[in-house]
């Protein structure tokens, strides 16, 4: 059990995170007690992204994922074909029951004493059960620890907390953005498949450095990624036409919109947000280097335009901007990026990349090749980012460093609210850090809360009309 802090020495957590002033004490990133409290108060409560349904398509399929520091097994059970998320730890004496990254199984058998679990988590095999337990072992009470699961238009989320709101309520206005991000380029729901295996690697930094300090961080791209933009290695070559985001999703021709950065302090989610100013969907912009790819995306853009005749595009996803679902997952239309705590000074990064499930092979190959050279442990963009992530933490741990707070003041006092997006603070400043302040507001709320009773309800009308399903 974690000894929950509401103060540290003579300072409360509220003095470490001052959203009103836009300063965050470095202690929040480097203090072991605070880290352990995060695992208890945040990662044991929130809805966390674990996988996409296309990665476990068949009965008996499984893959390993993470929730916080802990390994989980995502399965599709053999009998009912339902998705489950289990703690990868035998209920007998704790050993991992699954030691392969992915596969198809009849059972998960513990290598310690052979306690075995069906793909729906039930304990089905105990060697010498009658002899050892005299028939007294009630197997129904000893199934694998199972999380609550939500399959949201193909994206799989899980939480350990039975009192957490539904996933759709948890996501608020971002629910429609997640749905949109799971669509194929022609606007079909559940239109994606994700490449396997996902990329995984570890970096020597606190999870909040990539997840909080660096996500939806519009000011860093110009400097951190300068060489990447100059090299113009993306499919889009000269990326100025679409705003310089090096985004490989089907490139959109300019389309009337107001674009802001912001977030909802009551939910903790944040990101860029676009209010599109006309109905329909934009034309595709020809930019791919590989032959035949632009032809495909021109075709799907036409299909999407038909679907959105008379309707507004959602404000996030598919080129509108990326967003961060509290606490640790950034979603674009072309990648999902969870960051998992792996010790106070270590983070395990996952990268999941999709393609339209109905796209021809040459299009899927082009997308996969781009994603590998752009993102991930050897991708050019994240190699730039790792220079920051790795050394921010190292330079913040020392006795003197910890005396100075981080500054998250960009765009302060220049926010507005908009009836089109109830609950949000949107920034008039292009390179605002309102998204960061949003995440810290929610961080503080979770760290102080006794339970979800202290964290909920959300705004009653957070979801915009066009986002309601």
């Amino acid at each position: 059990m974690v000894n929950i802090l509401t103060s540290r020495g003579d300072r409360s957590l509220r003095s470490l995170v001052d959203v009103e002033k836009g300063v965050v004490d470095r202690e929040v990133y480097v203090n072991e007690e605070i880290y352990k409290q995060e695992l208890e108060q945040i990662f044991a409560r929130c809805w966390l992204f674990v996988a996409h349904e296309s990665m476990v398509p068949n009965p008996g399929d499984f893959m390993i994922s993470r929730m916080g520091e802990e390994e989980v097994i995502v399965t599709r059970d053999r009998k009912n074909k339902e998705l489950h998320v289990f703690l990868n730890s035998c209920m007998h004496r704790g050993e991992k029951v699954c030691r392969y990254d992915e596969g198809n199984a009849l059972l998960f058998t513990c290598p310690f004493h052979a306690w075995s679990y069906d793909t729906d988590g039930k304990l089905v095999g105990v060697a010498w059960a009658d002899e050892q337990y005299g028939g007294a072992l009630d197997k129904s009470q000893w199934g694998l620890a199972e999380a609550r699961v939500c399959n949201y238009y193909g994206s799989i989320w899980a939480t350990w907390d039975r009192k957490a709101p539904t996933f759709e309520d948890y996501a608020g206005a971002y629910a429609s953005s997640i749905r949109h991000s799971m669509q194929s380029s022609d606007g079909e729901d559940n239109g994606l498949e994700f490449f396997k295996p996902m990329l995984k690697w570890r970096i020597p930094t606190n999870w909040k450095v990539p997840a909080f300090s660096s996500s939806n961080d519009p000011a860093h791209a110009a400097m951190t990624h300068r060489s990447q933009f100059v090299a113009a290695f993306g499919p889009q070559g000269d990326d100025t036409a679409s705003g310089g985001n090096n985004n490989p999703t089907p490139r959109m021709a300019p389309f009337p919109k107001e674009r802001y950065t912001g977030g909802d302090h009551n939910l903790g989610h944040s990101g860029g947000y676009s209010f599109f100013k006309q109905t329909g969907a934009p034309d595709h912009l020809d930019t791919w280097l590989e032959p035949g790819v632009d032809e495909y995306y021109r075709m799907t853009a036409e299909l999407k335009k038909k679907k959105y005749e008379g309707k507004m595009l959602p404000g996030l996803g598919h080129g509108a901007s990326h967003f961060v679902i509290f606490p640790n997952t950034t979603i674009d239309s072309w990648r999902i990026r969870p960051r998992h705590p792996n010790g106070i000074g270590s983070t395990e990064l996952f990268r999941l990349f999709p393609a339209d499930k109905n796209a021809p092979k040459h299009v899927k190959d082009a997308m996969r090749h781009y994603q590998m050279r752009h993102t991930g442990p050897v991708g050019m963009q994240e190699s730039d980012d790792m220079e920051n992530w790795n050394y921010v933490y190292k330079a913040s741990q020392g006795t003197i460093a910890r005396r100075y707070p981080y500054n998250f003041q960009a765009g302060m006092g220049q926010n507005f609210t908009d009836d089109r997006l109830p609950g949000f603070h949107l920034s008039l400043v292009d390179k605002s850090e309102e998204g960061h302040r949003t995440r810290f507001s929610r961080w503080l709320a979770f760290m102080e809360a006794g339970s979800w009773d202290d964290l909920y309800p959300i705004h009653p009308d957070t979801t915009p009309e066009w986002g309601k399903t």
């Binding site: 059972l107 052979a114 075995s116 095999g125």
Partner: protein, 77 residues
């Protein structure tokens, strides 16, 4: 001289490998004398899914389906 391995032999180091390779439809003799058909092998080296075909001491067991642990499987027949 190279000793030929017997894939039905479930003893020793080779036996553990043979157990992993028992295929669906194979028949096995259990330590209680029953004969069973393998309906599935999870390839974990521990369990087999079986259907009892013959049981000299308890005919009511014939037809039942269960999991059997490797220590209770004597041989492939």
């Amino acid at each position: 001289m190279v000793q030929q391995s017997n894939s039905n032999d479930l003893g020793g180091a080779q036996g553990a490998t043979n157990y992993l390779r028992i295929t669906e439809g194979s028949k096995v003799k259990l330590s209680n004398g029953a004969i069973a058909e393998v309906t599935a092998n999870p390839n974990d080296g521990a369990w087999l899914f079986i259907r009892i075909l013959e049981h000299a001491d308890d005919s009511s067991q014939v037809g039942t389906e269960e999991m059997v642990f490797f220590t209770d499987v004597e041989a492939v027949v």
